[in-house]
């Protein structure tokens, strides 16, 4: 999977056939009450603009055994729609055809899940041993049939779901792979697979069907594994192929930008998404995050209002509103909304972390620690919570103690400069400069986001009297700053000052002069810079005086020609760009 472009060579089917596939998938899924998958298929097929012979596809020949038991199926289906799963399962229990069998098993599964959820608030005492009894019976029945390959793709999927619920993850992966192989159009099975694959290696090890659905799966899983560039590439390609109008793809693209912290791009994508699908709530929590980062108060307010109007009892809505309050500095209320989001979905991880942030704002460190810990307990790989804990302890002035948390965070996000920076700063506080140096260097290498790594590194080198490294770090910092257009008077002036002194010591008078000149641009350092300039002049005079050229061809010129002018022609850094040159002439 190293080369994505090679992957698309297999992307052959025409849009019309895809659309026909999707139509069929939608019908199959909705017959089996797999609502999310059928929704997904419908959404996608809606976005495809290609001619399809609806009439031919819609008239399908049902299998005779299905038709025979159609009355029972109908009854069960109606009960199913009314969410009376037990009843639905009961009436199709003797049916022989595959669809009815699926409905039967699925009904039993859902009935049990619903009961479990309903009982959750009542739960007392020990973790209930009976809780999974039903799942186990389902598993045994399905396993029996699975072993003799009597299950169709959907039932295999159901078997996988049961396995996953029982935490038999390894088996579940195998079963889901089997399911997508026998029913590649069922998006739900792919999606379950996404949640089970934890790294690229295991992804590569899967034997997946060579179906066009695979591309959607790959895109999704790359995003999930934080391989955002690859994911984006796939989506770009899909869009080129004619899926431009799919809200699913747009939302995924937006999520990718969001993951990559390309805030502007993400905002654009999200805005596009809301225009395409104004009543959509999914992903809106991430949209609100990006808006929060951009501090777009008005937009966020608007979004919050809209979400609240659509459905106020959705966790996404609560997070959006929480973010809005947080941006308004009304942290108590923000906490309240995050809390509500958690009530709606206790497994909603980012709400715990966000709540931790809010408690930090409220200066309630203990509550913040608790919230972060809770987040970690749900998902030990949540680097934001680890980072948050580190920050909390740092604020409590425990730099050594917070090292542990930063280390954890850094371990989880080895390529995130923020973690390395935090670690480096803590080390610096503990006077463990060698470690700090390594951290800052690492932060710089992995792509420094705040632009602070180099200057910190340079200052450290300066402190450790490692002059050459310090000078090169300062130089690099200046180059970087010029390139990025960032500006920090304090740091830049210091860099120039150091460089001037450094070059002066080494008698690189030209470089020293250039740096000192730059330095004079900063009011607070002007006097020092002038001192250095004077020094340079003196040295020049001296060294010129000391030149073993007793006879100068043109004596008068030397004395007449003012020194600065003389230098300016020689200084390489003041070589004029063509634009400036033109301007000069024009000015003349």
């Amino acid at each position: 999977m190293a080369d994505i472009s090679s992957l698309f060579k297999t992307f052959t089917p025409s849009l019309s056939s895809i659309k026909a596939d999707l139509l069929r998938a939608n019908r199959e899924c909705s017959q089996r009450k797999l609502f999310h998958s059928s929704k997904w298929a419908a959404e996608l097929l809606y976005s495809i603009e290609a001619p399809v012979d609806y009439k031919q596809i819609l008239t399908v020949q049902e299998r005779p055994d299905f038709v025979e038991e159609y009355d029972k199926f109908c009854l069960a289906s109606s009960f199913f729609d009314l969410k009376e799963y037990d009843r639905a399962a009961f009436f199709v229990q003797d049916c022989k055809n595959k669809k009815a069998y699926f409905l039967h098993m699925y009904g039993r599964y859902l009935a049990d899940e619903k009961r479990k959820l309903d009982n959750a608030p009542d739960s007392i005492g020990p973790p209930d041993k009976l809780e999974n009894e039903h799942l186990k019976t389902l598993k045994t029945e399905l396993a029996k049939k699975y072993a003799i390959t009597e299950l169709d793709g959907f039932c295999i999927y159901l078997y996988g779901v049961v396995l996953k619920k029982l935490d038999l993850l390894k088996e579940a992966i195998e079963v889901f792979v089997d399911a997508v192989n026998s029913e590649p159009l069922h998006w739900g099975a792919w999606l379950e697979l996404v949640t089970l694959i934890k790294d690229k290696e295991s992804l590569l090890a899967l034997s997946l069907p060579n179906h066009w659905m695979k591309h959607f799966f790959l895109g999704h899983i790359y995003l999930e594994l934080q391989l955002n560039e690859e994911g984006l590439k796939i989506y770009q390609h899909l869009m080129d192929k004619g899926f431009v109008k799919s809200s699913y793809i747009v939302s995924q693209v937006a999520m990718a930008y969001n993951n990559m912290r390309e805030v502007d791009m993400a905002v654009n994508a999200f805005t596009e998404l809301t225009e395409m699908d104004p009543y959509r709530l999914e992903n809106m929590d991430y949209f609100s995050n990006t808006l929060y980062i951009k501090e777009m108060r008005a937009d966020l307010a608007h979004l919050a209002h809209r979400c609240c109007d659509i459905d106020k009892y959705r966790e996404e809505t609560c997070v959006v509103i929480g973010n809005y309050y947080s941006l308004r500095q009304q942290h108590e209320k923000a906490v309240l909304y995050f809390q509500r989001a958690l009530k709606l979905n206790p497994q909603y991880l980012s709400a715990w972390t966000l709540m931790g942030h809010e408690f930090m704002e409220l200066k309630n460190t203990t509550a913040a620690i608790q919230a972060y810990r809770q987040a970690i307990e749900i998902n030990i790989r949540d680097y934001r919570a680890w980072y948050g804990l580190g920050q909390t302890y740092e604020i409590l002035k425990m730099p050594f103690y917070c090292l542990y948390y930063y280390r954890q965070a850094q371990k989880l996000r080895p390529n995130d400069s923020r973690m390395a920076m935090a670690l480096g700063e803590s080390y610096e506080k503990l006077e463990r400069l060698q470690e700090a140096k390594k951290c800052f260097w690492k932060a710089h290498v992995v792509g420094d986001m705040e632009g602070m790594a180099l200057i910190k590194l340079a200052k450290l080198h300066e402190r450790l009297n490692e002059e050459d490294q310090a000078a090169s770090a300062y130089t690099e910092y200046i180059n970087e700053a010029n390139r990025m257009g960032t500006f920090s008077a304090e740091d830049q002036s210091q860099a120039y000052k150091y460089l001037a002194n450094y070059h002066l010591l080494r008698n690189n008078l030209d470089d020293a002069y250039a740096a000192a000149q730059k330095c004079t641009e900063f009011p607070e350092r002007r006097e020092e810079a002038k001192g250095i300039l004077k020094d340079i002049q003196n040295r020049r005079a001296r060294s010129e005086g000391a030149y073993p050229h007793p006879v100068r061809m043109d004596d008068s010129l030397g004395s007449i020609c003012p020194d600065p002018l003389n230098i300016s022609t020689r200084t390489p850094s003041v070589c004029l760009s063509p634009v400036n040159l033109k301007f000069d002439i024009g000015d003349d």
């Binding site: 009982n119 959750a120 608030p121 009542d122 739960s123 007392i124 005492g125 020990p126 973790p127 209930d128 041993k129 009976l130 809780e131 999974n132 009894e133 186990k136 019976t137 045994t140 396993a143 029996k144 699975y146 072993a147 003799i148 619920k165 029982l166 935490d167 038999l168 390894k170 088996e171 195998e174 942290h331 108590e332 209320k333 906490v335 309240l336 809390q339 958690l342 206790p346 497994q347 408690f359 409220l362 309630n364 203990t366 509550a367 620690i369 608790q370 919230a371 972060y372 810990r373 809770q374 307990e377 804990l389 409590l396 002035k397 425990m398 050594f400 103690y401 542990y404 948390y405 503990l430």
Partner: protein, 782 residues
């Protein structure tokens, strides 16, 4: 401040979706069983307590009479059950069957069956009945269960919790009970092996088959889980009791505590039902410390202190103070953790953090703790550390923290002992610690104190006192709640005694003592390395004397892993004995350099021993001058540190050198002065060597005497030599026995006692055939 108020509510809201405050107690099927047990017992007892009425035949069935011992057994059983985690019914039946009267047992089983068969009604009635039983005593003076007793509290707690259950919760409870009951006598479970087609995957999944809740499954599959059998449910109270008990055992007597693996299983079990229990993480931390598992220990420690906040506290101002305290101690504990794993700098950094925070808030108690850690972590042996310890002693006494005072006093005594204080003052100072320990009855510190005294006496060379102190450690009554203290000091005392036996050539007894230590401190526990070291040392010494080179080198390898320095010294000696002089010399000189440069790390005794080993080597190679300089250095050092025994031993070496340099009369006078010490405190080997040297000096000195005097001195030497041979024989030191026998034969020859001479020669011959001399090493040795 609406948000702030709701925080407490908010954070109690667990990740599993449980709402509302969690009770400290819960009704579980196991608890129902216990209630039934107690209830049936009370019912039976009620019959007995019925007032005696005339005319009515009050003949109680012997079945129904409860004797006092039965009462006692029942009560202890119930107490144990109340405090332990929930058991499966089968286990409970096993435990109760033998203790209960058959009558009660039958009633008990019947009632459970009734519950099982007749749905929720009898269960709910039962609780009402319990309620009635508490409120209506049969006679006002003597209720069946007094409501403030342990059982009464248990009853009341259970009734209260049961009353607060909604009907749907009661049905859940009932379903749990049904399952609990079915595990023993219910309908057979679906036998899965029959149902399976027998595919590969089934066999994989079957192991995890019995696991129920998904998260639970994950937990115990890590631990190789036989969870469903062993696991019990902990209510908050049960968990607290469990933690305090195991924590105490871990500190007091590790052997009595659960095995590390088992304990870890129980802890994860406990966290399953009480995820917010910070103390459980701490127990896990302690458990990891004892198996030296660094990573998990760190995780647990941090987790514990992150969680360690009490949200039920209403008083906000009070709360912040408490949090600060917890944070300080978090840092302090972190320092301790790093120190235990030998990360000195890390430990110091953590400690400094703790100190800074404690200073900011003027927390003197915490500062004292930090101070005592500080002098522990800082390099021992400089003046700064000494002043730190002294300050710690004064301050902690002032603030009445007896354990810190006691520890600091001991540390200071050790410091002084290493730094040439007079022994009397050191031992007297130790008395201060003893008084404190006695006043505050701290058995742990008492043991440490005696062990330290034993070590001090050993260092000064007073063998008997050392032995006595070690025995005192073992004889102290340190029991707390029936559990004897079993810590490092006990292990040390055992080892010390073993060594004393070994020194006397009593190897069987020595190994017996070591075996005892082995049992008390199984190999994977914290202090096991102590007895391991001693075992290897004793093995080495023994095999070296009896010339079993194989065994000796094996012991050396074993020692290398345990104690690097002892290994180096002994490997030097080993090479010397094998005649590999140049390697021995380089090893020993390097070791000596190492010791002198890092003198703070060693007790003063060690360099002296190195010097003597070096001197021995020089003597062996005939380099008397160098030997003398080593010996003199050793004499100086041992005198400075009041190491009486080593001083005398060095003097013996010196006398031997003088003998070799043909100055026997000087040697004799030196021996006369120092022999008493060696003979009274020395090991078997040292005594024999000294006597041998003395005999040789006497003989050599006799040359200048008149014939009669010479003869008497020769006879005296003969006497001495018989003792020497006996001692050497005791040690299995065959080479030395041979050597001494030869010398004795020569003496007899000199005296003209042919028969005796021949006897000795014969003995020598026999020994020589048994233990032929291999090494080229000279006989020139002490």
């Amino acid at each position: 401040m609406a948000g702030v108020d709701s925080q407490t509510e908010l954070l109690r809201f667990g990740p599993v979706g449980k709402t509302g405050p969690t009770h400290k107690e819960q009704v579980t099927p196991h608890k129902i069983s216990l209630l039934v047990l107690i209830y049936e017992y009370c019912e039976l007892k009620k019959k007995q307590n019925q007032p005696f009425i005339f005319g009515q035949s009050n003949t109680l069935d012997p079945e129904e009479r409860i004797s006092e011992s039965e009462k006692r057994d029942f009560m202890t059983l119930i107490l144990k059950l109340l405090q332990s985690p929930d058991l499966p019914l089968k286990e409970l039946l096993n435990q109760t069957q033998n203790i209960l009267k058959p009558k009660i047992f039958d009633e008990f089983v019947d009632r459970l069956k009734e519950f099982y068969e007749e749905d929720v009604l009898p269960l709910m009635d039962f609780f009402q009945e319990l309620h009635r039983m508490l409120t209506e005593p049969i006679t006002p003076e003597m209720p069946v269960i007094s409501s403030s007793s342990v059982l009464g509290l248990f009853f009341r707690g259970m009734i209260l919790v049961f009353d607060s259950l909604s009907f749907s919760q009661v049905t859940i409870l009932y379903n749990q009970f049904k399952h609990y009951y079915e595990e023993v006598n219910g309908p057979a479970q679906i036998d899965e092996s029959e149902n399976f087609g027998g595919s590969l995957m089934d066999s994989i999944t079957k192991e995890t088959e019995r696991l129920t809740c998904s998260a639970l499954g994950r937990e115990s599959s890590h631990l190789g889980g036989t969870k469903s059998e062993s696991g019990g449910y902990f209510s908050h109270k049960q968990a607290e009791y469990f933690i305090s008990r195991q924590g105490f055992l871990l500190q007091h007597n590790e052997k009595e505590a659960m095995s590390p693996k088992e304990l870890q299983t129980q802890i994860s079990n406990m966290l399953q039902s009480n995820p917010a229990l910070a103390e459980a993480h701490f127990l896990s931390y302690m458990n990891n410390l004892r198996v030296k598992e660094y990573c998990t220990a760190v995780h647990n420690l941090f987790h514990c202190f992150d969680r360690n906040t009490n949200f039920t506290d209403v008083n906000l101002a009070n709360k912040t103070v408490e949090e600060d305290v917890s944070r300080r101690y978090a840092s302090l504990n972190l320092a301790g953790l790093h120190f235990r794993f030998g990360h000195k700098e890390e430990a110091l950094a953590a400690l400094q953090e703790a100190i800074r925070m404690a200073q900011e808030t003027n927390d003197h108690v915490c500062l004292q703790h930090a101070l005592s850690w500080l002098h522990r972590i800082e390099d021992a042996g400089n003046a700064r550390t000494a002043s730190l310890i002294a300050r710690s002693v004064d301050k902690s006494e002032e603030m009445s923290l007896p354990n810190i005072t006691s520890l600091s006093v001991q540390a200071l005594a050790k410091h002084n002992a290493f730094f040439t204080a007079r022994p009397s003052s050191v031992i007297e100072y130790m008395l201060k610690s003893d008084i404190l320990n006695c006043q505050h009855s701290q058995p742990h510190f008492m043991c440490v104190s005696y062990a330290q005294k034993a070590a001090l006496w050993h260092m000064y060379g007073k063998r008997e006192s050392s032995s006595m102190c070690s025995q005192l450690v073992l004889n102290l009554d340190t029991s707390e709640g029936g559990i004897y203290h079993n810590g490092e000091s006990v292990c040390l005392a055992l080892c010390n005694i073993a060594r004393i036996f070994a020194d006397e050539g009593n190897y069987v007894l020595a190994l017996e003592v070591i075996n005892n230590a082995k049992q008390r401190f199984p190999p994977q526990t914290q202090h096991a390395h102590l007895w391991m070291t001693y075992e290897q040392e004793i093995m080495f010494d023994r095999s070296l004397l009896s010339q079993k080179d194989e065994l000796a080198s094996q012991a050396l390898t074993g020692l290398q892993a345990l104690d690097e320095d002892e290994y180096r010294l002994r490997s030097g000696i080993f090479k010397k004995e094998k005649g590999d002089v140049s390697t021995a010399l380089s090893t020993l000189t390097r070791l000596k350099e190492h010791v002198t440069t890092n003198s703070q790390k060693f007790s003063p005794e060690f360099p002296c021993r190195v010097m003597l080993a070096l001197a021995d080597l020089y003597i062996q190679t005939g380099n008397h001058i160098s030997a003398t300089s080593q010996i003199l250095e050793c004499v100086m050092k041992s005198e400075e540190h009041h190491l009486e025994y080593l001083h005398s031993l060095a003097a013996v070496y010196l006398a031997f050198v003088q003998l070799l340099m043909r100055l026997p009369e000087k040697g004799l006078s030196l021996l006369d002065r120092h022999m008493v010490t060696v003979l009274s405190h020395g090991s078997c080997l040292d005594r024999a060597r000294t006597l041998y040297c003395y005999a040789r000096c006497t003989v050599a000195d006799g040359n200048r005497l008149s014939a009669t005097d010479r003869k008497s001195s020769l006879l005296q030497a003969v006497n001495t030599m018989t003792t020497v041979i006996e001692l050497f024989k005791k040690l299995d030191a065959h080479m030395r026995v041979k050597d001494a026998t030869y010398y004795l034969a020569r003496l007899y020859h000199e005296l003209g006692y042919t028969a005796e001479r021949n006897k000795c020669a014969y003995e020598f011959k026999q020994l020589d055939s048994q233990f032929p001399t291999h090494s080229q090493g000279t006989v020139l040795r002490l």
